[in-house]
Symmetry: D2
Subunit: 333 residues, 4 copies
């Protein structure tokens, strides 16, 4: 078989954890070529100086929409929520396929987006955006031109609950995440002394991933469900564990539903023991452990991912593979 | 006012984390005198060599029931579950007041105990034992002769949920705990490399603190409630956070109920922000944050304690203070 | 014996780790009364909200030199280096005894200070300042009016090496410190993700504690000695370990020298095993382990302190006790 | 160019950290085929169950010398010191090339080995063993049949100091290591609660890597040098930093010596800033930072490696590549 053609990929916003890892993964991908890395705050600095454990000796540049898109096939945009939409629109205008890591194109309903985030600056693109969870939208992702990469919590939550969605009467999602999920910004909350030997709930009752989880559980068949979701900050850097406690409307073959959903998925593993987040660190895997509890008649689903990998950057590569016609697992397994 | 009379207190099983801390707290208490410390495995070793950060220069001895009880008023027994009952019985026969840190006298129903633990070797003492949660059983603890010190998870769970108990239709308790809760035993699970940068659920669907939580929620007014409870092991040594998600049978004045329950409690703090476990480290405090969620109509209660302090050893001192007639907060505030 | 008279103490700069802990220790001291806490950046915020594990319910105010010194006996100033001198001078003018936690009065030689720090704004006070290491300057500290509290690394280094100082031909000091030593400032270097699972040397060849160490080793008898000193940042919050490797000019009774120096010191412990920093966490202790190495003929001295306690704030209280005529160990043992 | 022929490789002792990682690296190597994994204690267990983050679904078997060597070209032996020699001898008798991860063939002098370890059970093999540090013994390693893989500390120490060896008058090596270096054994010392928020020196004056460091510095040209070496246990899992403080006999072009030694080495990087151990985690790299100190006239060399990779298992693959005639960097870059 002939080798696939190469694609050139820009990473815009490569000075954050997610963008930098995306650049590393593009750089190591056999069919992708990293065409450039941009950053507003770290212009002129080398990526491997900013992140000494990454081995990409490329200099961060200020984004020049014309120069950085010439001869480039696709872009991964790693901007903050609200700031991404305009750049995504500009890149789309110049014909690039785009995976957007922000929330700007995840919520299908503009009003919901604007309620939880800010005014939308490119609402005309919402209809054409595909939600980038391949286990749910593989067909739409093949050939898609704009992909909204899911949030890290929704990634794990939807993978954990979609097989039950049509049967859910109630669900509590208790999430535990490492500090890298909060980004590189140095704040009181990310200071080592605040985090070590500590664990704290945050965003109680108002985390922005809530409407995204509800939207995608509804898309998977849930009716009238408002999920309870609370994240907690833990003293670890990468890794995310979601503990989901579901009440079903009626009895069902729970394990059968998970087998049916994931038996052929390359990146979802059903395991017999509760997973730890280290089991999946540095991988594109989601490990799921399902327990049907005889005492309470609830279903417990524990989902472990690496928030920077399957939760963000390696999932972006998985999406790019589908968008560009490569084998889905290339460069991330 | 005259100074209270001194009491002499033995700590049996002082080579574990809980017993050692109990010895330290007795040693620093103005009205208690540490009469001896015993251990089966570390006989002859000094407590401040085994735990260099503790400052009790006393030698661990093999328990001699006669010698170690002569002129002694009370004992704290820090033995493993199942192993404690017989020693407790022997100490009671010799007239000592006893706080038992094990589970052996926590479950009022012998059959339930034997279902979750082992055969009971001193069932005749069950009726006289008082459950050592002062915020619930203060009156009974004054002058009690045998106190079953609560488990660390039940301590936080009952404090978090008792004010709602009569109204609970359903509750999910997601617990996060440090490694000291697993004790000093060196195993694969407590090895640094297994724990660091990790988080793992354990005891899924079968943790022994479940029947204790159900018993005490029923005692507080819950009817027909089987709580969902799942602990998770975190990379920290001391500290325990319980995230409780409660569905109520009917509307109620939630914040009023907590105010009413805890306004005068010296060791329970209602706080406006979600607590971190470091906020209460090395204290006998339980910090509670209550959130009534408008999206889901659930009540969230977050409870933070130090598992070795309020969760075990300083609560034992709180109980001893009540049993021996001292001011409840002496030596632990 | 009559109870000593109370003294009122101001803590200026109480929003940092060192100042906040100083305020907590003053607040808990039987003979000191915390008269006020000030901060430039956190005016109006309560200390126990900023540091939930501290229990001082006092509001941080902007420093008002007249109001905050009225009826006040002493102050602890926890300002950054360079910024402290002027405030110290103003407080001294108003008659307060001052313990300055900054480096501004530690170096006796103005030129050396200005070479390593900035221009000195109160050089007229240098002569009267006493270096606040009680184990070296106890007599001068009794009744002193201005005390320069030592740096955390010099505290441990001088305690580790002073007994050998007159005999030192060469010394290498390899220091390991937790992140709290870097202060509350949120930076790339203090971000949890930068620190966890990492260890990095810093300030190589140019750390500002070097001239302070050399000055005090010379004061203890060293001649012509320039110590090698390199700190390393470790993934822990509090704690500091100095590993000192000394070459002696001639044979001497090493252990005897340490015994002679510290046999009667309340806060220096000579121990048989290498200490860990947890052994002294939250205490004013310095633990020293001395090893005379037969293979290399060097003397190894390992010194463990808590950088925020003996390394800073509890040592400030030790100094205040001496300055105000209280028993030296009051409130910190 | 034709693809190289495959080699079949046995990993004996694959249930420890080092052996398991060696098995993973063999399994992922393009020219090596993992023929089997053995273990005495975990017979019958799958490697990917024992180490869920490793993806090698192979069952651990009790070593059967005949069956496990049939058609096998080479073995990596990951046994404890003292226990390896006999198995190595048996594998050599059956014609396998062997990389031994233990210390059994590292010390050329049998008496020195027996002084620091135990009686040697295969001394006849000592002469033929090559010390497996490719940067020093590349020529001898090509085609070698028995390779003694260096200790993790000596690996970093020799790489840090060999370019200076002929000029060294004195050297202090202060080493910082993560817990994985202590192996999988669950003990008081590896318990999470003992390690977190702590740092402790160990093996003071008597660590077994001392004679290995001295031997190899002498082989590199040092005369009469006894290095000072002290390791410290840190709260991290993988990673090792050596801070070396060297006194030279006479002035020399230090940076030139390092450039000359390592300009063409694929796995040694000279860097401008002090390295952190995370910079090299999960790689076969050694990062060196060299500082010539004008104040003390010493040379500081900081060396960072991953103790399980360049310090052990990936270096074993580097050695195997040389022994079997593959390009040295295959499978580890």
């Amino acid at each position: 078989m002939a080798e696939p053609a190469l694609s050139r990929v820009l990473v815009a916003g490569a000075s954050g954890y997610a963008g930098a890892l995306a650049a590393v993964l593009v750089d190591g991908h056999p069919y992708l070529e990293l065409s450039g890395v941009t950053s507003r705050s770290y212009t002129g600095q080398r990526l491997d100086e900013l992140f000494p454990h990454h081995r990409v000796p490329m200099v961060l540049e200020e984004l020049d929409l014309d120069r950085h898109t010439e001869g480039v096939d696709a872009a991964i945009v790693a901007y903050p929520h609200g700031a991404a939409a305009q750049t995504v629109a500009a890149l789309r205008e110049r014909g690039l396929k785009v995976v957007d890591l922000s929330a700007d194109f995840r919520l299908r309903d503009r009003a919901t987006y604007e309620e939880w985030y800010v005014d939308h600056t490119a609402p005309e693109l919402l209809d054409g955006a595909v939600y980038g969870l391949p286990e749910r939208y593989r067909a739409e992702l093949r050939g898609a031109e704009l992909v909204a990469n899911p949030g890290c919590f929704p990634t794990a939550a939807i993978l954990a609950l979609a097989p039950l969605a049509g049967h859910l009467a109630d669900v509590v999602i208790d999430a535990k995440t490492g500090v890298s999920g909060a980004g590189r910004g140095a704040t009181d909350k990310t200071h080592f002394v605040s985090v070590t030997e500590n664990v704290t709930p945050y965003g109680v009752g108002r985390h922005r991933h809530m409407p995204e989880i509800d939207q995608e559980l509804a898309a998977a068949g849930a009716t009238g469900l408002v999920a309870t979701f609370t994240p907690h900050l833990l003293p670890l850097d990468q890794g995310e564990l979601l503990s989901c406690y579901a009440t079903l409307r009626e009895p069902m073959d729970v394990h059968g539903a998970f087998e049916a959903a994931y038996a052929h998925e390359p990146f979802v593993e059903l395991v017999d023991r509760p997973p730890g987040v280290r089991d999946v660190r540095g991988t594109n895997l989601c490990r799921l452990h399902v327990h049907v509890d005889p005492r309470t008649h609830k279903v417990f689903v524990f989902a472990a991912i690496d928030n920077l990998w399957k939760g963000t950057s390696s999932q972006a590569i998985q999406n790019l593979n589908l968008m560009l016609g490569y084998e889905e697992t290339t460069g991330i397994s």
